[in-house]
Amino acid sequence: NAGVTQTPKFRILKIGQSMTLQCTQDMNHNYMYWYRQDPGMGLKLIYYSVGAGITDKGEVPNGYNVSRSTTEDFPLRLELAAPSQTSVYFCASSLQGDGFAEQYFGPGTRLTVT
């Protein structure tokens, strides 16, 4: 199993550009998550999904959109990139949604907006 994979690993965007961060998991997990990690700020939840077709906002959803058309994929869309979105983005998945379920993280996407 590859686990959770993310593409791209690195990306530089100009202000106002759009892009999609890809996330795929092959563990048949129902729950998937997007976090952003800024230095000294921990992990902030952007969006999460409890299954195909169902998504919900996390702590910092502004400026982002998600969709979940399949169990495996959970892409994160940035429509109008802003410097404040410079961050490292992690996708994660878990078999269940209760806190006792381990979250498996991908390797991250480092995004710079200039």
């Binding site: 959770v4 998550y33 000294g40 700020m41 921990g42 992990l43 902030k44 939840l45 999460y48 409890v50 996390g58 992690f90 994660a92 949604g97 209760d98 806190g99 006792f100 381990e102 979250q103 498996y104 993280f105 991908g106 390797p107 991250g108």
Partner: protein, 112 residues
């Protein structure tokens, strides 16, 4: 009330020493407290976790101590090794099908 406060922000420990990272919370409805370990350039990975009805959990050199009355929990790394150098995050789960709230992280450096 959803916050988890983690300290210190960074920590340097000599090889063989004990590393201690502390977390505090306010919301007594939190029902699960995991610790995640993150190496540079990698995603976090679950290290160890505890439920509030247990005061201590040990896995190898890693121990969680939980003080329910003080609303605090801590990670102890015994006989710290250079390979333990990483960022450690505490987290808390609110109950039901909610998500995790993470602390801000502690960057641990174990010097040889």
């Amino acid at each position: 009330q959803q916050q988890v406060k983690q300290s210190p922000q960074s920590l340097i420990v000599q090889k063989g020493g004990i590393s201690i990272i502390n977390c505090a919370y306010e919301n007594t409805a939190f029902d699960y407290f995991p610790w995640y370990q993150q190496f540079p350039g990698k995603g976090p990975a679950l290290l160890i976790a505890i439920r509030p009805d247990v005061s201590e959990k040990k896995e190898g050199r890693f121990t969680i101590s939980f003080n329910k009355s003080a609303k605090q929990f801590s990670l102890h790394i015994m006989d710290s090794q250079p390979g333990d150098s990483a960022t450690y995050f505490c987290a808390a789960h609110l109950g039901g099908y909610s998500t995790l709230t993470f602390g801000k992280g502690t960057m641990l450096l174990v010097s040889p």
